[in-house]
Amino acid sequence: MPLLTRTFIKTGMVCLALALVLGILLALGVTNGLFPVYIHLLVFGWLTQLIFGVIFWMFPKYSVKKPRGSEALGWWTYALLNIGLLLRAVAEPIQSTRANPLSGWMLVLSAILQFLSGLLFVVNSWGRVKEK
């Protein structure tokens, strides 16, 4: 299993664990802006990130020379996803309790980073989705 895949999967597991802890906080009634963070740690940080890692590892080869497409694009996908998600996890609770320009712009930045992560992933994987 390539290093990038292991990194995706292990970071995904950390997101799962964090989400489960947030689930306890939510159940205790600490809700301020945490619900969307909880959901996205699960669906983006865990499920989607796990899928990104496994697709990079197991999908049909892009070419003999570059079986997994661009590894650099893969690492960019990883970095943008996790920096974007972390920014969101920090800024969204602040924004929903004490909204201020800093947390507001952090959310805008987070949105851009996360979108770019998805875009780079699709660009890098598209050519590997093919008939044999």
Binding site: V43, P101, A111, F115, L119, V129, K130
Partner: protein
């Protein structure tokens, strides 16, 4: 990867792209509000990512990877699964018209459920132990 899986997976990648674009617009709107109408994208964000991306990707990869038959059609009733693919995507797209068509969510969801049932029927016998023809 068989042709039908290519269609499933490519469609799911397109939904990932659109769904995260909508999500990004929503998140930016929560940060620095720029256009309240962005919130109309919220139901599409969920539908495109949960059904269009996650579920559709799982269906496409399952159709490719789960055990095949050594006699007859190796991936079972392929035509049925094509119909499932068509209904799933028709269903997702129909829900996107919910602001114009009051019943769009209901109709779209029914199409998605039928797609799911056809997929289960088409795959059921392929979930089998090693060596079973």
């Amino acid at each position: 990867m068989p042709k039908l899986s290519v269609w499933f997976v490519r469609a799911s990648l397109l939904y990932l792209l659109l769904g995260s674009l909508f999500g990004a617009l929503l998140l930016a709107q929560k940060g620095i509000p720029f256009h309240a109408a962005v919130w109309y994208l919220f139901p599409l964000h969920m539908e495109f990512l949960l059904v269009g991306w996650l579920i559709q990707l799982a269906m496409g990869v399952a159709f490719w990877i789960i055990p095949r038959f050594s006699q007859g059609s190796s991936r079972g009733p392929v035509g049925l699964v094509w119909v499932s693919f068509a209904l799933l995507n028709a269903g997702i797209l129909i829900t996107a018209f919910q602001y114009w068509l009051p019943d769009a969510v209901l109709i779209g969801r029914i199409a998605e459920v039928v797609a799911g049932i056809l997929f289960v029927i088409g795959s059921w016998r392929r979930v089998k132990p090693h060596g079973v023809m």
